[in-house]
């Protein structure tokens, strides 16, 4: 892995002073500019109140909450399984990854997170990595479009379309997948899915190379994003950044490596790191993460137990009628399974009292669930640690000293989703 080192970054306040020196005359009058909540570059409903001195931002105050739906309150009023569809709507660009994260959190509470069948683990890793590619593609496309490169947006949507088709094939829904269940997945992979996924991987790398030719060495792109909104390592840690934003600042932390879950220890992949911590680094980290995700996908396709058609009948769910719904055939014919089905549907699985926190490496960063259980099928408290919420809290720190036109680049490079931020 590449070596990392601390670098000296001029303070934001120094940047303002430096910029002010170069101006012939700086008026003392500050202007308040309201950006959003419905602004194309705020990718949802984020409002930022900017205080400007000429074209230089002197203060930024983000205003979030326009998409607040009270997910945590809702979770306290339903069983663990019933909350799965709500997780689709957190980071709605990567619903599959949210499903995996939530299922793993509840499984950790139940104490079965390391007893999942291997085929289930591989399936979950594959869908989570597909979600990562899909989310990064949208983030990249929107970022590039805000910078004026509309072509990238269109091309990246062509690739995302294929991922949506893959999602549709496994669970019937393209967007709100709700694919995982506590203790497994909704159903096994359909016939031909692995071939379809392999085909996607093969086509995706050339497409990604094409995006690189459009952006990575593009003079306009590089001029606009390099050395912009530099986040030092210390700041990134202090502000609790996670995901590509943290690694873009050169902090080597990826939950898939540092706190491995599912079958990630059996897979080979690298964690890309930035060296400067500017918008360009965050862009490069995301590009490389997509390549690594394809690498993971290809390994999974090769190594998945049971192979494409699962002739050896590898299980995809835990064999425990008190956690996972028994097959319908047995419910109709056997007494015990009927009781399990009845109990699971009416009361939910019986979780032990206790509290757990599980953090999942989502495309946007660490999606964490803190579950406080008093026993029974309903959480007493479910706190969602949303990466976008935490990542946005650094805006008041990095915006001052930048130009108004830089805001769209910085927001694009932070890559957030308001559905998750506001919950």
């Amino acid at each position: 892995m590449a070596s990392v080192q601390d670098i000296a970054i001029p303070d934001s306040a120094a940047r303002v002073a430096q910029a002010a020196e170069n101006l012939p005359e700086v008026q003392d009058e500050r202007m308040a500019l309201n950006m959003g909540p419905s602004h194309p570059a705020t990718h949802g409903v984020l409002r930022i109140v900017l205080e400007l001195d000429g074209e230089i931002i002197t203060k930024a105050d983000p205003d979030v909450g326009y998409l607040h739906r009270g997910d945590e309150k809702i979770a306290e009023n339903m069983t663990y399984t019933q909350f799965i569809p709500y997780t689709d709507r957190l980071d709605y660009l990567a619903p599959l990854a949210n499903n995996v994260a939530y299922a793993l959190a509840v499984e950790k509470l139940l104490g079965i997170h390391d007893k999942l069948p291997p085929r289930c683990q591989y399936i979950r890793v594959m869908v989570a990595e597909l979600a990562r590619i899909s989310a990064h593609l949208l983030g990249l496309g929107a970022f590039a479009m805000d910078m004026g490169a509309v072509t990238v947006f269109l091309l990246s949507f062509t690739e995302r379309e294929k991922i949506y088709n893959l999602a549709e094939a496994i669970c019937g829904a393209r967007f709100t997948t709700s694919y995982t269940r506590v203790g497994g997945v909704m159903r096994d992979l359909p016939p031909g899915w692995l071939d379809q996924c392999q085909k996607f991987c093969e086509e995706f790398i050339p497409a990604l190379n094409e995006f690189e030719t459009l952006l990575t060495r593009n003079r306009i792109w590089v001029d606009r994003v390099r050395e912009l909104a530099v986040i030092s390592r210390a700041d990134a840690i202090d502000y609790g950044l996670s995901g590509p934003n943290l690694r873009g600042s050169g902090v080597e932390w990826d939950l898939r490596k540092n706190q491995p879950y599912l079958c990630y220890p059996e897979l080979e992949f690298d964690i890309p790191l930035g060296s400067v911590g500017d918008c360009y680094d965050r862009y490069l980290v995301r590009m490389e993460e997509m390549r690594q995700s394809v690498r993971i996908l290809e390994q999974c396709i090769r190594k998945i137990p049971g192979g494409a058609d699962n002739q050896s009948k590898e299980p995809v769910n835990v064999d425990n009628g008190k956690i996972f719904l028994p097959p319908k055939q047995k419910v109709m014919t056997k007494m015990e399974e009927l009781i399990h089905q009845f109990m699971l549907v009416t009361e939910g699985m019986n979780c032990p009292p206790g509290e757990i926190y599980f953090g999942h490496e989502n495309p946007k960063g660490e999606l964490g669930f803190y579950i406080h259980s008093k026993g029974g099928g309903v959480p007493y408290r479910l706190k969602i640690r949303a990466p976008s919420f935490v990542n946005l809290s650094i805006i008041p720190k990095i915006f001052p000293g930048c130009m108004v036109s830089d805001t769209v680049a910085i927001l694009g490079s932070l890559d957030f989703v308001m559905g998750e931020c506001d919950r």
Binding site: K73, I74, D235, I237, E355, I356, Y357, R385
Partner: protein, 231 residues
Amino acid sequence: MGNLIFEKVTALEAAKKFKAKFGDLISEPLEFRSETSVQLADAVKIVEVCRYAKNDLDFNYLVDISSLDNYGDDPRWTVVYHLRGLRHGCELRIKTDVGEEKSELPSVIGVWATANWHEREIYDMMGIRFSGHPDLRRILMWEGYPYFPLRKDFPLAGKPSELPGVAFTKLTPMEGGPFVTVAGGYSAQSREPRIRIPETDSIETMGRLERRKEIQEAHGHPKGPGPIEKK
């Protein structure tokens, strides 16, 4: 930062060090699903404990702060800090209880900057205040919202509350100028300055024009052409 050498710690060892340093303030570590939690007896000491965790035990990353409403119990609130050291990879949970009549504990914003938004969220959702927080405003709900929705005595269906009637609470600096919405008009039509005046001019529209003229005069704007006279 880099020249300090931290010994490799596990969460349990870290919890024991806490115990050695703070004595009875810190409870025995509790293990569940290979996660370690300790309970801090006095919430006022939270900053001291967190600073020790960061500086001496190298828990440099605050993952999350969450809150619990132990409705019906005393003390009513529990605030949960989830700490992590990125260098040693250990995680530790610190919990502390806060009574309902006080509902306040010190802010740890001076230890980790990320605490800012987490504490604002807890204030917004549970109504627990953080003393020393520089900007303790609501974050997800709007300013002026009267309830704390994550409390157990707040119903899932919500309670009716007043929404701000107009999006603007005070005069915009350029009110009365061209392309600036006039706040407080009776309808969208009467607020919208760019609207064309139809042949059949309604009373409402006239009211708008008069109001606009008043504002313009008050702001010392040059007199415009005025409403189109009906022929």
